[in-house]
């Protein structure tokens, strides 16, 4: 990164915002199309014909919607959380990638919230979960983990949006000076009149650090609370004390893998080769390796606790998970999330882009399977054998799962054209201070093409 100058960073980032090729439009068009066809249409169908359109039925009354909810919340965990931790530990390598990682948090949270709306039968009554005075004298039950979820996810969404926005204010100001037309108006508003004075930098530094300190425990609480949605029930294989750390580790794990996927795409298609380098993949790979080991350990522990309890229901639930109807999925999860990541021990693997992409996608497939298994295996084998039953997702559910991926992609594609996806000022901080220029012609002005 030594060859880059300060002005190059501004130029490259502004270019990524204003220069839009046909490939981008094609991707956006497809993403929007798939979102409409696979997400909104089946949802509308389900609303019209009733929740029976989904495959959920007694005893497995939770299905892929909730698995997707946990998955998307989990994916959201690495972005802001990782960014905050790395900010507080002064990690240089965070600076080129944190913006898009945080965006991932934001959008996966939005998709997660939408999955809850899809799951509940009557989403138009969702405001009933909000605590506000009303004439029905109806108040949410604050003793329920489901309501903890509402509070935690709402707080996390607010916190992550504020965190990503606050870190981007100086960049909006830098972009504002170099754009024209409607973009300029937008950035004038977004930058709030930032000038980059010593006082403003000082205030931003403090506020940003405070936010990071507040968000780290928040993020940990969010996924712990999501785990309690399950662990607070007395269903075998769900009623476990290990669930909170299990979910938090799983979340950070799948989130880190998600960042690798997003970094690969940004690097390749947004021309950020000079900013997102092998160093980032190497470090993310190390992180993934550690997380996969912790995750594997907790999985072993889960089996051990089940076996050691000696309870027939726990033993049955365990046996069913490992050797029952869903067993192929279980072993696929072990392969993708516990065995395959061992490749990350090799530095050559960590610094190769395509293998890292494949592994990161595999890990997330494995992690989705994990969530699916948590929801379905436990509910389909509860205490009474005459209440056992299988759950298989319906076409509507599978379609909405694919559609949710497209929804996330659409939001992300819109994001990369509005937010500078690489932080301008923080990348500059990692560079040597500018040299005196031989001529005083001023900075080479970037001319928007449109």
């Amino acid at each position: 990164m030594d060859k880059l100058q300060y002005a190059d960073v501004n130029r490259d980032v502004v270019r990524s915002l204003v220069e839009t090729g046909p490939r981008y439009y094609a991707a956006l068009f497809i993403a929007i199309g798939v979102t409409l066809a696979c997400f909104f249409f089946p949802w509308f169908y389900q609303l019209y014909y009733g929740i029976g359109a989904a495959g959920m039925n007694h005893p497995a009354v939770w299905g892929t919607y909730l698995a997707s909810f946990i998955f998307w919340i989990g994916l959201s965990h690495s972005g802001t959380l990782l960014s905050c931790v790395l900010h507080l530990t002064n990690s240089e390598w965070r600076k080129a990638m944190y913006r898009s990682a945080e965006a991932m948090t934001l959008f996966s949270l939005m998709v997660a919230a939408t999955m809850v709306l899809v799951h509940v039968g009557r989403p138009w009554f969702v405001h009933w979960t909000m605590p506000y005075p009303n004439q029905m004298e109806l108040w949410p039950n604050f003793r329920s983990p489901l309501l903890f979820d509402v509070m935690a996810v709402a707080t996390y969404l607010t916190g992550s949006s504020i965190f990503i926005y606050m870190g981007a204010i100086p960049d909006f100001a830098a972009v504002r000076d170099r754009t024209s037309g409607w973009r300029r108006h937008m950035y004038v508003l977004l930058s709030l009149g930032w000038r980059g004075t010593d006082k403003q930098w000082h205030r931003l530094g403090w506020a940003y650090t405070f936010l990071a300190v507040l968000i780290i425990p928040l993020a940990v609480s969010v996924h712990s609370i999501v785990s309690w949605d399950f662990a607070m029930s007395i269903v075998p294989a769900l009623h476990q004390t290990i669930f909170a750390p299990y979910f938090v580790v799983g979340a950070i794990y799948s989130g880190t893998a998600g960042i690798v996927t997003v970094m690969f795409v940004l690097r390749k298609y947004m021309n950020f080769e000079q900013y997102i380098t092998r160093v980032h993949f190497d470090n993310l790979g190390k992180l993934m390796l550690v997380l996969s080991l912790i995750w594997t350990y907790i999985n072993i522990l889960e089996v051990f606790t089940g076996w050691y309890s000696g309870t027939s229901t726990e033993l049955e639930a365990m046996k069913y998970k490992m050797f029952g109807y869903y067993a192929p999925l279980y072993w696929e999860m072990i392969l993708f999330c516990a065995v395959a990541p061992l490749l990350l021990i090799s530095k050559r693997f960590r610094t190769s882009f395509v293998p890292m992409l494949i592994l990161s996608v595999a890990v997330n497939i494995g992690m989705y399977t994990e969530r699916f298994l948590i929801v379905t295996t436990s509910l389909s084998r509860q205490y009474l054998p005459d209440a056992w039953g299988l759950y298989v997702p319906s076409l509507v559910e599978v379609s909405i799962l694919i559609g949710s991926l497209a929804l996330f992609t659409t939001l992300f594609l819109i994001f990369v054209k509005i937010f500078p996806s690489v932080s301008i000022y923080e990348v500059k901080e990692t560079m040597a201070t500018p040299k005196r220029r031989p001529s005083e012609e001023g900075v080479p002005q970037w001319q928007p093409t449109s």
């Binding site: 605590p131 903890f148 504020i162 930098w201 000082h202 205030r203 506020a207 405070f210 500018p434």
Partner: protein, 170 residues
Amino acid sequence: MATHIIGLFHGPDSALAAAGKLRGAGLPTPELQSPVPIEGVEEVLGVKKAVIKRFTFFGGLIGAASGFLLAAGTAVLWAHPTGGRPIITIPPFLIITYELTILFGILATVLGFLISARLPAIRERIYVPEAAVDKFAVIVACDDDEHRGRAEAILREAGAEEVRASMEQS
């Protein structure tokens, strides 16, 4: 109407040195504009008070109180006894308290940031666009020609690449 003398520097060190000299020469405390936060500003221009921490602290405190009051208060007003357990149940209510502490803490931090950094800017102020790219600007307000001359001389002596004057916009 005060004139602002602006000196552009290529590096943070020379800009800081110039700001220190200006301050030492009895001119008003200069303002710096830079593309990145400058290390060591406080040693030259004096320690700044961070009022934001008060906002965060009291925001968190108010959040904690309102979180607990929300959960416990509504539980008392709309009592829903279950199995003889207490109406005000501490462990679950602490979770609501915890979440609202953080929510209010975050919102108060943002408020503190906006107030103390004077954002959003309503009034136009001196702005050096180059400082958003790769220049470090030192800006000093001068009331008369004597001050202006001195400021210019100091800035040039400190190695400014460019010195210019700007009328304050009102």
